[in-house]
Symmetry: C2
Subunit: 636 residues, 2 copies
Amino acid sequence: MLKRQQAESIKNVTVEDPFWTPLQNLVMDVVIPYQKAILEDAVPGAEKSHAIENFRIAAGESRGEFYGMVFQDSDVAKWLEAAAYSLVLRPDAELERQADELIALIGRAQQPDGYLDTYFIVKEPEHKWQNLEECHELYCAGHMIEAGVAYYEATGKTALLDIVRKNADLICARFGKGEGQVRGVPGHQEIELALLRLYDATGEARYLETARYFLEERGAEPDYFTEERARIGWRHFGPSSGDRNYAQIYAPVKQQTEAVGHSVRAGYMYTAMAHLAAETGDEELLAACRTLWRNIVQQKMYVTGGVGATVHGEAFSAGYELPNDLVYAETCASAAMIFFARRMLEAEPKAEYADILEKELYNGLLSGMQLDGRRFFYVNPLEVVPGVSGCLPEYRHVLPVRPQWYACACCPPNVARTLTSLGQYAWGENADTVYAHLFLGGRVRCQNGAQLACRSAYPWDGQVSYTVECEKEFALALRIPGWCKHWQLTVNGRAAEAEMKDGYAVLRQSWQRGDTVVLALDMPPRRIYADARVRADAGCVALARGPVVYCVEETDNGGNLAALRLPRTAQLRVCPGGDARLGGVPVLQAEALRLLPGDTLYRDEPSAQQETTLTAVPYYTWGNRGPGGMRVWVRE
Amino acid sequence: MLKRQQAESIKNVTVEDPFWTPLQNLVMDVVIPYQKAILEDAVPGAEKSHAIENFRIAAGESRGEFYGMVFQDSDVAKWLEAAAYSLVLRPDAELERQADELIALIGRAQQPDGYLDTYFIVKEPEHKWQNLEECHELYCAGHMIEAGVAYYEATGKTALLDIVRKNADLICARFGKGEGQVRGVPGHQEIELALLRLYDATGEARYLETARYFLEERGAEPDYFTEERARIGWRHFGPSSGDRNYAQIYAPVKQQTEAVGHSVRAGYMYTAMAHLAAETGDEELLAACRTLWRNIVQQKMYVTGGVGATVHGEAFSAGYELPNDLVYAETCASAAMIFFARRMLEAEPKAEYADILEKELYNGLLSGMQLDGRRFFYVNPLEVVPGVSGCLPEYRHVLPVRPQWYACACCPPNVARTLTSLGQYAWGENADTVYAHLFLGGRVRCQNGAQLACRSAYPWDGQVSYTVECEKEFALALRIPGWCKHWQLTVNGRAAEAEMKDGYAVLRQSWQRGDTVVLALDMPPRRIYADARVRADAGCVALARGPVVYCVEETDNGGNLAALRLPRTAQLRVCPGGDARLGGVPVLQAEALRLLPGDTLYRDEPSAQQETTLTAVPYYTWGNRGPGGMRVWVRE
């Protein structure tokens, strides 16, 4: 059971999905070219990036100063990674030429020993590797490694893979417990998951071993960061708070039981932990992953999948402390949960992981991107109040409309690389089973020989059909989503009995080419209630249909959304077609009440009410029709 | 109508009240001696004050450095003011000796020209009057003037009055629109109300004129603070945010329509505006006061009377934005509302002002002090959550138990001086009317010749009796509180018909010595609802009885108070006796429900419920039985 399910090759899944294919096209047509232009500083009015210019300077081909964040290189890496996945989805000679050119530049910027970080090459060469806590060298290296692996898998070209291997070899030689090695750990985790991907791509054990070292060394005593601070006597970002939760160094990772600190750092680390556990069968490590997963999902996750409830440290907050208005819920943290879920599924195929993967994809991640692909949220609130969100000091980070581009451009490329690689999250396999984690339209060609096509109008319709495209005996394991109360399964039109295992309906038989399996998931609009310990949601209800969480917006429902009341008994109606400005996605409606303002601030009687129609739209579409209030949780 | 009601002399009211007399005794027996010991640095383990030592150094009688805040002197002034009121309540030769000694020291510290601010005398003499925006010289002067007036009125001694007049004369000469004068305004308002009190005590017109100057100059263009910043090129507290709301300079005061910025600065300024309007009959100024009052009371006041909803700038927030957990609601701001209400009552005796005065006294102000008088809240939350309040970064200012003493010791002396001078707030008069604003037990001897005694067990009992102690025709105007729906009035045991005017039941007749008027206010426990625009209180109810707002505490109701549900129909019971640890005050009880935690964070069904008994205690008594959760607003 702990043996890792073999990763699908990047090319053995194709996507033809009425929901996701247009989004992937949007990323390819709009986001990736736009991001490239940003990296080249070719977008008038946008925040200066300078990221590619930094490489030119590092290569000695341009003069000037380094500009940007200490982790500016990672923007280039994430763009390359998304471009790689895009080339798998749709060949594009011009894009490939741009990527090759950029890769060649990166190669010229790399130093003879393999070192590759333009900030330190250009600006502070004397400070290389000195400030692991703050300076993101291992983080940037990790992102470039991910890009190198992706570009190799997408194109077969090894130029970037060779560059990142040389860099990884330098890192593997430098860090570890061996004689002459430095026992450092990164301030921002990322190198761990990247080295494991490099191990998957190359089979080189040292990459896995160094990933293991970074994970196992984390949280060790004496604390590396404390010693480093004392040793170097300078800071990059400013005084340390000494908070040992922030970068998850409060205990060795196997002993960590609570998700704390910066949620993206945490999510990347948990991803690597799960990957390593799946790879090595380390039962203790997997147990820690399960504990941390459960802590997040049972105490620290918004109903939209958002994680990291507080802007202070972009961090997880206390258990059940999920304020809808003060929220952080960074788009990148939802991406990290997607990565974590994928690796947990590889460690043990349980539908609970895929349920969260799905929740993040349709809600917390997708809400990060404007429908036209041109603007992005970093913070994904569940309640927006005009004059409060984005205005008052406590709420300044909670923007009511997506901004163009940030100086810290982490989220947009994370959305781009996740959406373009979606096929890698949809399926799983082992020797005799194919897992359908998501109901992603398209085809899969498994390493175990199974071949399938999937067709669906998910998430707007619950009917999903699979056509077998091989002759072979294998088990087809279809996830029954946690939100689904009633479903039916037919094989070639006849009702089929499936064995339920870990949330999957499993059909094991000898399949013929053309066999058709239809899964019909009942998908009525539904109400969601938060646990009694979540004080922010007390007395409230959220609406959803299938995996899609809904919200109410001022543009449909008028102002002061806190005054809306959805009676417990009100029928929820699905209205297909919805608002054309939202692409015609189905909206939900119900007869509701609205509390009316009165003459005094406090009164002896509850507010008078009037009848109204509540209209809810998919959460991921919010903020696409101009500024205004929004709420996910409506008072019942 | 605009003619100011003559202020009662400080000595013509005595207090014998079963509720307030013990609190006044507590202030005299515990708070004032403790504060004196703090000022002398004689309390082991307490935050260093150094306030009196600063005066010794300024007087050249001690060596050393100034220590403390730039407004450290005001702690001494507020202590002297409270001591003065205390001497009216209860002669105390030793206290008077201490005060006289301290006053003599202050006199020796004063400079020949009248200048009196130990920070600048000792530490930065070259910077006197240079940084009005930040450096609190006029604020400290104002507090010392208040002390001087109070001590003179209490003891007849003029030593401190002479000192502050000399200082005030210096200020009056320096600031104004005349030739050679500086057109400055203070960063923290206080001098304005103080000069008006000095005018009341001395009849010197220049004090009123300079108060008027400071008020009228405020918000003028070009902005004094902007020019000052540019001129001096140094800062005391750090960079200016340039926020013109913070110190209420966004418009000339007569054009200000919204209560914004630092709530104590605002409250002190509004107090002075109302005082000046009452004194001068300036109708335009009074209209501005009414507008600002209404803005606070109708949009920006907690049900406890707390004002200033945000810690950021200790400021008013947006309208209807009254978070119960993030709250600031500084004790000093409630004191400022008491001062403002008093001056509005003097400008126009309307019960709406006295209703708020009462609300502040029994709730927002009193909650600032521990029942034993030894610890104080600065921040008065309406929701405390263990592990959140005082713990998480957003909530670090919201302490779950009262701390001992702060480096910035503004609130404790504000409570002390307000409680010891309570008699000055209870009554009002004009030529032919006596107003009973509060139902304060004791006696009043009016300047119009009327004399009355009042006896009550308010706020626990609604029956209040007045005995006439003179023979005279006058109108007795008894406030009918806004919270009271049913009441009866008898004169000498017979039902009496009163004329209602501005919220007062007015009995006009020729009174005989011994005539008895009994006002019986129905005081059932009641529910309070917030307006539909207050999103923080949506779906919730607050409980009160008479003027006393109640809250639920974890110690009576178990943890997770957000899970409590008080059904709309549940009967509220008054349980006299209550908890002995709270002095036996009546508590409220009702049959209620408690939502039960479940297995998952989100579910298809609302949480299961179990029956429970809800117990509510007076809000001002919260936090006296150890740490734990607290809520004012309970879900209905």
